[in-house]
């Protein structure tokens, strides 16, 4: 089990997930522009199987409120699974008011 902890340089997007090497499952939190979401998903590691030229993942979840905001995200990770070097992430937030808000960010390792 490895923890990924990466953030955008302006700290508006922070991804903190535990990933399971044995099956690629991921779970943790994705913070986007002030809202923290509990997310789950999975990833596949580059090089582990022929044809996998990039590490990629998808996540979804919500903020746990009674009127939840939902989030979905997919991304490309650069670096080994045990120590990601960067993540390019696309995020879509759906609010309880019915707005769909897209975000995109580059994430780097976060202390």
């Amino acid at each position: 089990m490895t923890r990924w902890n990466l953030a955008s340089t302006d700290a508006q997007v922070v991804l903190t997930v535990d990933e399971d090497d044995s099956n690629g499952a991921m779970s943790g939190t994705l913070r986007a522009h002030g809202t923290t979401f509990q997310v789950k998903g999975a990833w596949s590691a580059s090089g582990s199987v022929p044809g996998r030229n990039a590490s990629a993942f998808a996540l979804s979840g919500n903020d746990g409120l009674a009127a939840p905001t939902w989030v979905s995200a997919s991304g490309i990770m650069v670096g080994p699974g045990a120590a990601p070097q960067s993540i390019e992430i696309q995020i879509d937030v759906a609010t309880p008011a019915g707005a769909l808000i897209p975000y995109q960010a580059e994430l780097l390792p976060h202390a």
Partner: protein, 623 residues
């Protein structure tokens, strides 16, 4: 549980979800530009809690390929949860193959006019209802409860059942002793008012489904006609619809290509297929076999006893056909039909001068029967193309009637003949679900007339039927137990279409996403043969299936098909190769794009050829 089925205007994005009202969990598929992703997630309904001004959701998933492409989507839904009217969707796609990130946005509206159209197609076969005389497999005192249990289940689930299909051998005109005239279908209907009367349980199903019950004959009821259905009239005035023997493709819940093919299956079995050379209304040799067994039963049953009291009856009749046909096959004895008749006559104590009374009241002798079916094997050889392959397929047709061997092969053949992704047969009385390593699915509905000693708890033969989800094409084998009071899905094994270790076939799917129909122009088979007729036309928006089978002991399979747009334009040539020897690689070309897999592997990334492994699968897309 409700179902969301929506797509965008050009059909390039299709969302099919099952959502749980209690928990908000969602699962299903999201198709985008020719790739289908399995997704899961959750949603929250507007108005259900203060602050929820809109219904919103989020999903994630992948395409399941070895080098997966991942998808994430968030959306806003308008309309009630039971019937979404519109979805605004934002999609994000991350490719593990090339490291690309893409976005798509779409507006989705209901498929086929409604998001909660009924999705389930129920298939029931091999009930074998007759006059209730002791030699008939369906005994009302034993089997009514089970058939009623199935009907009650259909009625309870009528909100999601599109149709019930009675897939042959629902009636039985064969399990009748030689010296008795088989009853008419009309007589059987009138003798069973608990089933077919205006308030009988089948008629209750008719009313619950607004008349959507469809009947097709098998071999034991091969003379049933559309007119016979008029003798079944429900309280609300519905009668079953009728499809003439052959294949029934039910309309899909969401419209579009009919890719479920239902057939009794006896057409592929040498002993029970309608025999066009038979002077007795197409009766096959199996009819006379069954009659001889019924006569033996009549002689040997004790007073008050029926065949339902004996082990091995109904499944079908306790005779050992397997050793007869295997023995003939081992000897290479093409007079297998003659051997069958001789053996059955001996086993059942049928005298040489036995006469058989037919349904029309005429009589034929055993000698006439033996003479009529001489050469049946040779006729099947010729029908299957002659030569070595014709002989092999003829033997498959013989073995198909002995324990259902090779029915998976014929099920696959039916799928490719019909360009269907799901095929369901009956006939064998053996429930099955799944085909190993293929691109189509096969299932068998089993039967409804197991004898008492064969049923649980003493035996393993259960009453089963099939439920197909017409939106996802998932097939469930359902068991009806405990005198019809318990109905639940069961796991039954998949079968092989062709033993995988020796199958060097090419299985090809051509998806026509273009604007014009594609018309077959040419075909070549440098190695192997086309095991099912090629689609003459692949309509725009639909797909066609091609099966190039290798010859036993040959060089693998290699071939091509050429399709041309109906309105003119350049031809589309699709080539595919699955060589026998490992020093050569699988290969393919054609289409706007393709993906491949081999053996038990998963689909690879677009444009990547699975160079080793067999059989070889190719999915071409024409844009």
């Amino acid at each position: 549980m409700t179902y969301w089925n929506l797509q965008n205007a050009d059909g390039t994005i299709v969302l099919r979800l099952e959502e749980n009202d209690a928990t908000g969990a969602m699962s299903g598929t999201l198709a985008s530009d020719g790739t289908t992703y399995t997704v899961q997630g959750g949603w929250s309904a507007s108005g259900s809690v203060p602050g929820r001004l809109a219904s919103v959701f989020a999903l994630r998933g992948s395409d399941g390929a070895d080098a997966p492409t991942w998808i994430a989507a968030s959306g806003v839904m308008k309309g009630p949860g039971a019937a979404p009217q519109r979805i605004t969707l934002s999609i994000s796609i991350a490719s593990g193959h090339d490291g690309s990130l893409r976005r798509k946005n779409a507006e989705l509206t209901p498929l086929g006019g409604g998001a909660n159209r009924k999705r389930k197609i129920v298939v029931i076969s091999d009930v074998h209802i007759g006059m209730g005389t002791p030699t008939v497999w369906f005994q009302p005192s034993v089997h009514d409860a089970y058939l009623k249990g199935i009907c009650d289940w259909v009625i309870a689930n009528a909100a999601d059942v599109q149709e019930v299909v009675l897939l042959g051998d629902f009636f039985d005109q064969w399990t009748v002793p030689c010296d008795e005239q088989p009853p008419s279908i009309e007589a059987i209907i009138k003798a069973n008012p608990q089933i077919f009367g205006p308030t009988g349980y089948l008629c209750q199903v008719l009313d619950a489904l607004g008349g959507n019950v469809t009947f097709g004959p098998g071999n034991h009821d091969m003379w049933a006609s559309a007119n016979d259905m008029s003798f079944i009239v429900s309280a609300a005035g519905h009668s079953p619809k009728f499809f003439a023997g052959g294949t029934y493709c039910p309309p899909m819940p969401d419209g579009g290509q009919k890719n479920i093919a239902l057939a009794h299956g006896h057409e592929y079995t040498m002993f029970n297929a309608v025999d066009e050379d038979s002077p007795w209304g197409g009766l096959p040799v199996g009819h006379f076999v069954t009659r001889m067994v019924a006569s033996q039963m009549k002689r040997t049953l004790k007073p008050g006893q029926t065949v339902a009291d004996l082990a091995g009856q109904g499944s079908p009749d306790g005779l050992d056909y397997t050793s007869i046909v295997k023995g003939a096959w081992a000897r290479g004895d093409v007079n297998v039909v003659e051997a069958l008749l001789d053996s059955v006559a001996a086993q059942t104590g049928t005298p040489k001068d036995q006469m058989f009374v037919l349904a029309d009241g005429s009589s034929v002798s055993l000698a006439q029967v033996q003479s009529q079916y001489q050469g049946l094997f040779s006729r099947w050889q010729a029908k299957e193309g002659g030569g070595t392959q014709g002989t092999i397929n003829a033997w498959k047709s013989v073995l198909a009637d002995a324990q259902g061997y090779y029915m998976g092969f014929f099920g696959q053949r039916k799928a490719f003949e019909q360009s269907a992704e799901v095929v369901v047969f009956g006939h064998t009385h053996i429930p099955q679900s799944g085909l190993e390593t293929t691109m189509v699915n096969y299932a068998n509905s089993g039967f409804e007339c197991a004898s008492i000693p064969d049923m649980p708890p003493g035996g393993t033969q259960a009453t089963t039927f099939i439920v197909i989800d017409g939106s996802t094409l998932e097939v469930s084998v359902m068991q009806c137990a405990q005198n019809g009071t318990q109905i639940a899905p069961i796991n039954v094994g998949p079968v092989q279409a062709v033993p995988v270790g020796i199958d060097d076939s090419c299985y090809v799917k051509i998806i026509n996403n273009g604007a014009e129909d594609l018309v077959l122009k040419d075909q070549t088979a440098a190695h192997g043969y086309f095991a099912a007729p090629l689609p003459a036309t692949i309509p725009a928006g639909e797909f066609g299936l091609v099966w190039l089978q290798d010859y036993a002991g040959g060089a693998g399979s290699e071939g091509s098909v050429t399709y041309t747009p109906a309105g003119g334009g350049p031809d589309h040539v699709f080539t595919f190769t699955c060589p026998l020897l490992l020093i050569y690689s699988n290969a393919c070309s054609g289409g706007t794009s393709f993906r491949t897999k081999s053996g038990s592997g998963v689909w690879g990334a677009p444009g990547v050829v699975a160079k080793s492994g067999h059989p070889f699968y190719v999915e071409f897309t024409v844009a």
